[in-house]
Symmetry: D3
Subunit: 293 residues, 6 copies
Amino acid sequence: MFFHDKRLQYTVRCEKPNPLFARALQQAIGGVEGEIRVCLQYLFQGWGFRGPAKYKDMLLNTATEEIGHIEMLAYAVALNLENAPASMQEEAAGASSVVGAVLGGSSPTASIETLLGGMNQRHLLSAGMAATPENCNGVPFNASHVYASGNAAADMYCNVAAESTGRVLACRLYHLTDDPGMKDFLSFLIARDTMHQQQWLAVIEEMGGSAALPIPNSFNQANEATDFSYVFVGTNQDGSPPPAGRWTQGPSLDGKGTFSATVGVPHGQEPVLGPARPDSGAQVEQMSAKPPA
Amino acid sequence: MFFHDKRLQYTVRCEKPNPLFARALQQAIGGVEGEIRVCLQYLFQGWGFRGPAKYKDMLLNTATEEIGHIEMLAYAVALNLENAPASMQEEAAGASSVVGAVLGGSSPTASIETLLGGMNQRHLLSAGMAATPENCNGVPFNASHVYASGNAAADMYCNVAAESTGRVLACRLYHLTDDPGMKDFLSFLIARDTMHQQQWLAVIEEMGGSAALPIPNSFNQANEATDFSYVFVGTNQDGSPPPAGRWTQGPSLDGKGTFSATVGVPHGQEPVLGPARPDSGAQVEQMSAKPPA
Amino acid sequence: MFFHDKRLQYTVRCEKPNPLFARALQQAIGGVEGEIRVCLQYLFQGWGFRGPAKYKDMLLNTATEEIGHIEMLAYAVALNLENAPASMQEEAAGASSVVGAVLGGSSPTASIETLLGGMNQRHLLSAGMAATPENCNGVPFNASHVYASGNAAADMYCNVAAESTGRVLACRLYHLTDDPGMKDFLSFLIARDTMHQQQWLAVIEEMGGSAALPIPNSFNQANEATDFSYVFVGTNQDGSPPPAGRWTQGPSLDGKGTFSATVGVPHGQEPVLGPARPDSGAQVEQMSAKPPA
Amino acid sequence: MFFHDKRLQYTVRCEKPNPLFARALQQAIGGVEGEIRVCLQYLFQGWGFRGPAKYKDMLLNTATEEIGHIEMLAYAVALNLENAPASMQEEAAGASSVVGAVLGGSSPTASIETLLGGMNQRHLLSAGMAATPENCNGVPFNASHVYASGNAAADMYCNVAAESTGRVLACRLYHLTDDPGMKDFLSFLIARDTMHQQQWLAVIEEMGGSAALPIPNSFNQANEATDFSYVFVGTNQDGSPPPAGRWTQGPSLDGKGTFSATVGVPHGQEPVLGPARPDSGAQVEQMSAKPPA
Amino acid sequence: MFFHDKRLQYTVRCEKPNPLFARALQQAIGGVEGEIRVCLQYLFQGWGFRGPAKYKDMLLNTATEEIGHIEMLAYAVALNLENAPASMQEEAAGASSVVGAVLGGSSPTASIETLLGGMNQRHLLSAGMAATPENCNGVPFNASHVYASGNAAADMYCNVAAESTGRVLACRLYHLTDDPGMKDFLSFLIARDTMHQQQWLAVIEEMGGSAALPIPNSFNQANEATDFSYVFVGTNQDGSPPPAGRWTQGPSLDGKGTFSATVGVPHGQEPVLGPARPDSGAQVEQMSAKPPA
Amino acid sequence: MFFHDKRLQYTVRCEKPNPLFARALQQAIGGVEGEIRVCLQYLFQGWGFRGPAKYKDMLLNTATEEIGHIEMLAYAVALNLENAPASMQEEAAGASSVVGAVLGGSSPTASIETLLGGMNQRHLLSAGMAATPENCNGVPFNASHVYASGNAAADMYCNVAAESTGRVLACRLYHLTDDPGMKDFLSFLIARDTMHQQQWLAVIEEMGGSAALPIPNSFNQANEATDFSYVFVGTNQDGSPPPAGRWTQGPSLDGKGTFSATVGVPHGQEPVLGPARPDSGAQVEQMSAKPPA
C-alpha cells in the first residue's frame, strides 16, 4: 500500500517559462527513457519477484521513489507552460500581456507562431497548460516498455539500460536549458540516475557477477549448440573477416568459453513451404506448387 | 548494401506441427524480446554510430546476422502451421484429413475448438498459415522498442538487456516444446544469444569497464548534485531503513563514490500552480484560485 | 444502412488559411476528445445495445450526426492548408506566390521554416494538403478509446465525459483563432456539444437518476464489502486526515449510505510468491527461495 | 513524494489457481477500465490542477490509493498463475506434478492445450508467471487513456465514467470466478469503485451541480450558436422524427434552455476543394479541376 | 451530412452462436483488412479529394455503404455471442442453462474453459456480449491504416489492395463457418468486395490505365535517375542472376522503358559520420573519432 | 541468410544540413509509405510464400534491396542533423559556432527556437543526432502495416499501393528540398520506386492479369451472392443516382459480369438483440427488454 507527502523530493523552480522546453521535458516523463517507464518497470519487477526477499524490497523502494520523480517533472512542465500562448492573436506587447511575458521573457526572438508550432499543442488543447503522459513528440507512453522478465539478472540489466539512457537524456536536457532552476532540478535527477545505474550493477555483482552469465544461468548448457556460443559471426559480403576486438579472442566473460571469430556461412537448408491448401484463400496457381522434398 | 543467400543460417525442422507453438514462437519474432527488435536496434545503432569505426562494423555484422534469425523463425512458424485447421467443421477422422493429422500428430487431446481458440487467428485469417510480425498475443511489433541512444555504452547495456531477455525467452520456448526439430533449432538460437550477451559485455570492457560509468561519462560531475549520487533512498512508510546490500555500503562500482543508505524525506516545496487563465477552457471556479506565493 | 447528402450540416468558411491552425483542428478529428471517437463510440453503443429500443435509436441518430461533424472538420483542415508551403524554397515574395499568400495572409510574421516546422508534416507529405485521422501531434486515432460497456448508465457517463472534454477543446480552438469563418463554424460545434452533454445527462435522469447508482445497479450489494463503500480513504504519509468535502459527510448520492472519511491502513497481508519453478527461465538463486507460509 | 507499506490494502487469497482467470484479471490492471488508467489519470489531474487546493489534495489521495490497487491485482494474477503449465509435455498425472495440480485443482476438465491456448502466453514467455501491464487480450496499456483536461468538471465526469466501467468490470469478474478468495478480494474492489463513483459525483455537486454546465462554464454562451444548443437532431433517412424522451422536451438540465427535437437538414454548402497544386505529388488530371466558386 | 435507415443492407442471421467465430469476425470489423479501415479510407479520400468531382462523389457513395457493412458485422458478432459463458461455473447441463445451449448447440465438444480461453475476453468483460472495434486478436483498430495520399491513382491502388485482402478474409471466414446464416451473410460481403475491387480498377482504367504510371505521373521523369527505373536489381550473395520473369524483359508496363535485370552492386560511398559533439550525451571516446574525409 | 557490404547502394551527400528536412525524411524511413514497411512486407511475403518458387525469390531479392534503402535514408537523416542545435543558448554568431553554421547555412532566416520547435526533438534527446524508426511526426513504425496475406495477387496489389504512395512521398521530398545532394539521392529512390511499381504490376500480368480477378480467384463464385457482384450501390440521401463512369456500365474488368448502378435500399431486417443477461453487468432496466421476435 502506498502513501503520499505533499512536498516534492527536491525543489523545482523555473525562472523563464518556455513551452518548447516543456515539450522537451516530456521525454523524461513519457519517453522510453523516462520515469513512467522505470516506475512501472520496478513496480512490476517487484510485484512479480520470486527469490530472495531483499531484492523485492529494494525494487519497491526505488519504484516508490520514481513515482515522485514523475511528480517533479509534471510540475516542471507546468511551470514552463505558465505563460504559453492560448491564442495566435494575443497582444505582442503590453505589460499585462501573456505574450509579452513570453516574448520578453524566455524567448525574446520567438514569435507566437514559433511557440504554437513548436510546442506540444496538447499542452494547450487537451491539458490546459499541464503535463501529459507522452514523450517530447506527443506520443503517449506505451506499457510494452515495461520489462519484467521473471529473471532477476535479466531484469537488472534492463534496469541498467533504462537508467543509462535516462541519464543520457537528463544530461541532454541539462545542456539544452539555461534556466538556473531547471539546471538545479536536472542536476538532482542526474545524480539519482547515477545511483540507480550503480545500484542495479551492484545487485548483479552480489548475485554472482560473471557467475550469473549467461542469462538465464539455470539453463543446462548441455542443451545448447555450444559450437556457436562463443564465436563472433561475420557477415561481410566479400568474405572479409569481421572486426577484431575483445569479443573475438581471449576467455569469454562468463569464464565458460573462449572467444573466436568466423566468416558466417549457411548451415541450414533452403526453406520450402508446401502448396497453398484448398479453401485457404490463395490464388489457384499457388495450390499446384510442388511440395517440399 | 545487403545481400542474401537462399539457405538458412541453421537447419529448421518440425516433426509435429502445432499451431499453439506457432503462436508461442511469434514472441521471438515480434515480441519485445524478439529478433525484429534486436535486428532494427543494431541496424540503427550502427547507422547512427559516431566514434571508433570498429564498433559500427561490429554492430552491422551482428545486425545482418539477426535478419537471418527472423527468417528462420518465420519458417519455424509456418512449419508449425502446416496442418492448422481452416474450418471448424473439418473431419475429425480419416487418413487424408488435415484435422486427423493434427489430432493424431502433435496434439492428440486437442479439439478443433481448442486449436482455433488457442491459435493466433491472424495466422489463418490474415496470413494464410504463415508468420506475422507480431508477438505471441498477436500484438504487432512497435519500433519504439529500438534503443539507439547515440551513447555507445548505454547502447551496449541496452543490447545486453535485449539478449538477456531474448535468451530467457528462447529457453522457455525450448522447455515448452518436445519436438526434436524445434529443440535443435532453439539450441542454436540459445547459443547465439549466449554469444551476443558476451560480445556486448566485451565491448563495455574494452571501452573501459567501470571507467565508462556513470553513463554518459562525458558529463561533468561537478554539475551533478553529488550528495545524492551514491545513496540508496528508502521509502518505507514506517521509516524503517531500506534493505541492506552491496548497494548500501562499500565503494561504488564506478570508483567515484561510496555507497550509503538513507530514509527518504522531501527536500522540496509543495508544488502550487497558478489559477487557470481566462479563455483556457477551465471552469469559472478555477480562475479565482489564489496564485502561488 | 446509411445515406449521404453532399451538403454540410453547417457552413464552413476560412478567410485566412493557416497550417498551424489546421494542425490544431486535427485534435477535434482524431484526438481523444474528437469526433471520430464519439462517432464510433455512439455507433458501437447503439449496435450492441440491449434494453429499451428508444435508447438505441437515440444513440444511432446522434452517431449519424457525428459522421457529418468529422466531414466538416476535414473540410476545415483542408481549407486551412490551401496555401501551405510545399517547398522550403518557395518565393518569399511576389503576388502570385503561394508563400506570399501565406506570409501576406494569415501569418505575416511567420517564416517558411516556422510553417514547415510547426505544421503536421503529414498534411504535406502523406495527404497532399488534406486532413488525416490523427490528433494535433500527428498521432493516429486508436479505437481503444471507444467505450461501449454494455451497461447503459456507464455508457451515458462515458458520453458526458466525451462531450465535456470535446466542448472544452472546441472552446480552446475558438479562442485560438481569429478567423471569422472558423469562429462561426466552431460556435456551431460548441452548441452541438452543449446539446450532447445535456442529452446524455437527460438519459441518466430518465433511467432513474440516483437510482441508477452505483453502476451497475444490477449487482447485489450484499456481495459487496460495504464497510468500504462510502468511506473516503486518505493516504497522507503523516497520517493527517484527508481533505473534507461533500464526499466525507452527509448521505451518499445514491441514497444507500453515508459518507465518512478515514486514514488508510493496510488490511491485507504482505504478498509473498513462491520460488521460481525449474525450467521457468529464472536464475538459479531464485529457485531456492523459501515458499510462502 | 511517495511512500510504501509492504502490506496490501486488503487481503488477497486464491484457492484454485487458474491461468484463464489470471488473463481475465489483467483487464482490471491494464485495460481501459482498469487501475493503471485511473491511477495515472488521478495523478496527472492532481499534478496539473489549477483552482481550489482541496480538490488537488483529494485527487492525489485517491490516486495514491489506486497504486495499491494495481499492487493487489498483480498479486492476484501471480497467485492464479502459480501452477500454470510451462510445457506441453508436463505429466498429466502424479501427485507432485504441476499439471496434475492444475488438472485436479481449478480446471478438472481442461487439457494442457486448453490452458496454453487460452492463457496470456506472455505470462509464461515474458514474465515467468507474473502480471503484465496489459489487458485481458495481452494488449499493453496506452497512456492516451489518461484524461486530464485542465477543466475540473470535465475531469470529474471522466472519473465517474472510469469508475462506472471499472465497477462493471469488477462485477463481471466476480461472476466469472467461484474462487472464494478471489470473490472476497473483488467484493473489496467493487466497494471502492462504489465510493469512487460517489466521490466524483459529490465533487460535481459541490462545484455547483447544474451550474457547472455546460462544461466549460467559463465560455461566454453569447459566442455559441444557441439555436442549436438544446435541440435533438434526428437523422432518419425517411424523415421520421427522432425518438422522444427527456431530451426532446422540458427544461434543459443546465436550466439555460428548453429541449426540442427536429429532423436534421443540411445548413451548409457543398464542400469543394481547389485543384491540386503543381509539385504536390498528385496526378496530372487532378491539377486541371475547376477551382471552387 | 449523413442519414440512417434502421434496416440492414442485407439480412444477417445466425443459427448456432459461437463465441470463437465471433472473435474471428472481428478481423472483418477492426482488422487491417476490415470495414472500419475501408470506411474511413474512402471517407478521408473523398473529403480531401482534389480533381474531377465525380471521383469524389463515387468515393463518398461507397464510403457510406461501408458504414453499413460495419453495422452488419457488429450485429453478426453479437448474435454469435448470444450464449457465450459469463461464468466458469455455469451449469454444464440443464435445459435452461446458457452453457447447455452452447454445448448442445454449435460446439458440442467444447468445454467452458475452451470457450473462455478461446474467445475475445473483452466481448464479455468490456462489452457485455457485443462487438468491439478490434481485430480477431483483440488489438484495437489504428487509424494509421487509412491511406489517403492526395494522389488519385495511388489511392485507387490502395483501395484495390484493401478490397483484395478484404475478400480473401471474407472467403476464409466463409470456409471457417458452417452456419447457414453466416454463410449467406458472408456471400453478400464477398460479392460487394468483388464489385469494390472492380470499381477501383475501373477508375484506374478511366484515368488512363498505363498512362497513369508511374505514379505520380506529374513528376518530370527528367529529374529521375532513369538508369535505374526499369532494371530489376538482384541481391544474391553468390552473384547469381535474379529470377527471370515478365519484370526482367520486354517493354515496361507504363510504355516508357524496357525491363532488364542486373546483379546489384554498391554505387555509393561508405557512410561515415563525424565524431560526437561535446555536450551531446555521448561517451568521451566517441568525441575523438576522426571526422569523415 | 543475409550479408552486408559497407558501401551504400547509391551516393548520399548533403551540402546544407537542415534538421527540419531530417524530420521530413523520417517519413520515408518509418512512415506508412516508407522503407521499413516495404522491407518487412516483402520479407514476410517471401518467407511465407506458397506457390511457384520464382516469385518467392523475386520478393526476397527486392526485400534485400530495401534494407539498403533504409540504410541510405538513415545516413541522409544524420547528415541533415550534423549541425542541429543542442542548446537554446548556443551562440547565434561566430565562425566556429554550430548555430552560426546552421543560421548561415541552410536556414538563414530560422531562429534557434524555430529549429528546436520544428525538429523531431528525439533526434536530439533520444538519438544524439541520428535517425529513428519513426515517421515525420515522431510516431514509431508499427508492424501492423506489413501486408502479407498468403494470396499472391492480393500481395502484389498491396505492393503496388505501397510503391505508389512511396513514390508520391519521394517526389514531395524532392520538391521540398533544394539541396543538390539530397535531390540527387531522391532521384535514385524515385527511380527505384518506378521499377518496383512496374515489377509488381508485371507479376500480376504474368499471373494472368484479369484472370487473377476477383481476388482470391480460388473461391467458387457459385457461393457468392452474384446479384450484388457487379453493381455500384448509390447512397445519396435524396435517391438521386450515383455518379456514372466506367464502373457503372460495360463489361466488368474480370470479364465475368457487366457493370450496372442502382440506388441502394435496405435488403435486411432491423437488427434486434435480446435483453441483457443476469449477472452480465448491465443495468436492471436492460434485463427486461423484450427479446427479438
